[in-house]
């Protein structure tokens, strides 16, 4: 694993390993001294071409907790606004010696281009590209699901076999949904996508997931977890962008409110990748209920990103796949 570009690239073994490593990282974050010397002297560049609060802060925190040097770059206020290309930006970062580049870009595939163009020698971590992928979000969701739903005790080594997860809302524009469908499938969970027909992407029948247009029917099948997606109005042209008649109708049909929350099984948890549109896809009662693990997702995000940075950046690089290798150097 040289880069982390897509949740689809992860094998079952790699995914479980990242989650196990995240578990150990999370344990260190409960200590008084949270900083570890592991990545001392390494440089992580956060290259953000798109607005972000929690992902950027989460990556920055993760890198700093591992003692890496962090350089934050946001397109606003940089030479990108003067018209600099991704290539020239990447070459600049390479010249500054970046060991890892965490990139968020509005164009799907930008991280892939960066990783395979030879513009930078560092590891590339996709922090969200267009409507394509957001693998670390899927990993932190899987980590959160595993912590809550795979029984008591240390969850190390477990996957999500047999868990049933409903992903609800704006699937069309959601890189979170794409990454989650692939990763949760890899880990053995059954995924149901619930969305209005206008917000279901073309080609969804090829995804390893069921599709439903009826949230109440999906809740009646007793899912173990429900993941609400943000309605991405910035990617729609007008109020509803023609995807749904009105926000109120969307809320009536696809919003998680107190009634639907009560209809869910006792043990089921509510996830949301944030930022939430309270009152649109999720009501305040649902968002603030004890079954919502939305704030915990943010904390888990730091541990998962520490794990990803550790696995990508420590080690000689060549054989990160080998778990227990004998070294005769």
């Amino acid at each position: 694993m040289k880069h982390l570009l897509s949740a689809a690239d992860l094998s079952h073994k790699q995914a479980v390993r990242i989650l196990d490593t995240a578990g150990q990282m999370a344990a260190t974050q409960a200590r008084e001294i949270k900083k570890l010397p592991t990545l001392r002297g390494r440089t992580v560049v956060n290259l953000f071409f798109e607005d972000s609060t929690r992902t950027r802060i989460s990556f920055e925190t993760a890198a700093k907790r591992l003692s890496a040097d962090v350089i934050n770059f946001s397109a606003k206020g940089s030479s990108v606004s003067k018209g600099e290309s991704l290539k020239d930006t990447a070459l600049t970062l390479q010249a500054m010696g970046a060991d890892a580049v965490v990139i968020r870009h509005h164009a799907s595939g930008a991280p892939h281009t960066l990783a395979h163009s030879g513009w930078t020698h560092g590891a590339v971590v996709n922090a969200g590209d267009g409507m394509h992928q957001h693998p670390t979000q899927a990993l932190l969701d899987a980590y959160t699901l595993r912590r809550h739903l795979t029984g008591a005790g240390d969850p190390s080594g477990r996957d999500l076999a047999g868990l049933r997860v409903a992903i609800v809302g704006d699937v069309l524009h959601s890189r979170v949904a794409r990454s989650n469908v692939q990763l949760l499938h890899t880990l053995g969970a059954d995924v149901t996508l619930v969305a209005p027909p206008t917000l279901v992407p073309v080609g969804v029948e090829a995804w390893p997931a069921e599709v439903s247009y009826d949230l109440d029917a999906a809740i009646d099948t007793k899912p173990d977890a429900i993941m609400m997606l943000r309605v991405q109005r910035e990617r729609m042209s007008s109020a509803g962008g023609g995807f749904f008649p009105s926000p109120l109708e969307y809320t009536r049909n696809y919003g998680l409110d107190a009634r639907r929350l009560a209809a869910m099984p006792e043990h089921a948890i509510v996830l949301h990748p944030g930022p939430m549109n309270r009152g649109l896809e999720i009501s305040a009662e649902a968002a603030d209920s004890p079954r919502a693990v939305i704030v915990e997702q943010v904390a888990n995000g730091v541990a998962v990103r520490m794990a990803v940075l550790y696995l990508l950046l420590s080690g000689s690089g060549a054989t990160t796949e080998t778990n227990e290798t004998k070294v005769d150097a």
Partner: protein
């Protein structure tokens, strides 16, 4: 992490591959006797075991620490074996992370009261370069402030690269750097033995 092999390799694949020239230097009986002696030395040195915390370094230091704790509790009935033992993973403090394939991180668990004011006895299977112990000392300083730190190793094979020495040693084993010392334990490998492999012996 064990430092049983040159450059302190990961030891988990050790038990199945045992070349013909492996020499058994300690058997189960001798290991048990050595641990009994170390347990008595720990109690003698620290005038009892009331402040002692045994921190085993995964993989094989941890079962050794558990065995030592059981022996301490057998000698001093006031001690509870389970309250004496912790696990200290040093992976994230190693100085050679960049030179090896990525290591899997083990777990760190401290006994209830933490480390402040305690006498920490680090327990590892093989003491070799001393780098694992250097990492362990760094890890400890992030976890608390013990009154003292001591080191117990089942085997001291020499070739130190740092100014570190063990307080309690099961067996001093003069080796050449070409040889490998392997510790097998019931809990991880199905049997107890210390082996030397390779080299001209």
């Amino acid at each position: 992490m064990s430092s049983a092999l040159p450059e302190s390799a990961q030891p988990d694949d050790a038990q199945s591959q045992q070349p013909a020239e492996a020499t058994v230097v300690l058997g189960g009986q001798e290991i048990s006797r050595a641990l009994t002696r170390i347990a008595h030395e720990i109690l003698e040195r620290n005038k009892g075991g009331s402040d002692v915390v045994l921190l085993g370094i995964p993989t094989r230091g941890l079962p050794l620490a558990r065995r030592l704790a059981a022996k301490l509790a057998a000698v001093e009935p006031t001690l509870q074996a389970a309250d004496l033992v912790g696990s200290l993973d040093v992976t994230m403090y190693r100085d050679d992370l960049a030179h090896h394939p990525t290591r899997t991180i083990g777990s760190t668990d401290l006994p209830g009261d933490g480390l402040d004011g305690k006498v920490v006895v680090l327990v590892d299977d093989v003491l070799f370069s001393g780098r694992t112990i250097r990492a362990a000392l760094d890890a400890i300083s992030d976890l608390g402030r013990p009154r003292a730190v001591q080191l117990a190793a089942l085997v001291d094979r020499g070739h130190r690269e740092l100014p570190i020495r063990a307080d309690f040693v099961g067996k001093n084993l003069p080796t050449s750097t070409h040889e490998r010392v392997r510790v097998l334990l019931e809990e991880t490998d199905g049997r107890d033995a210390v082996l030397i492999e390779g080299g001209a012996r």
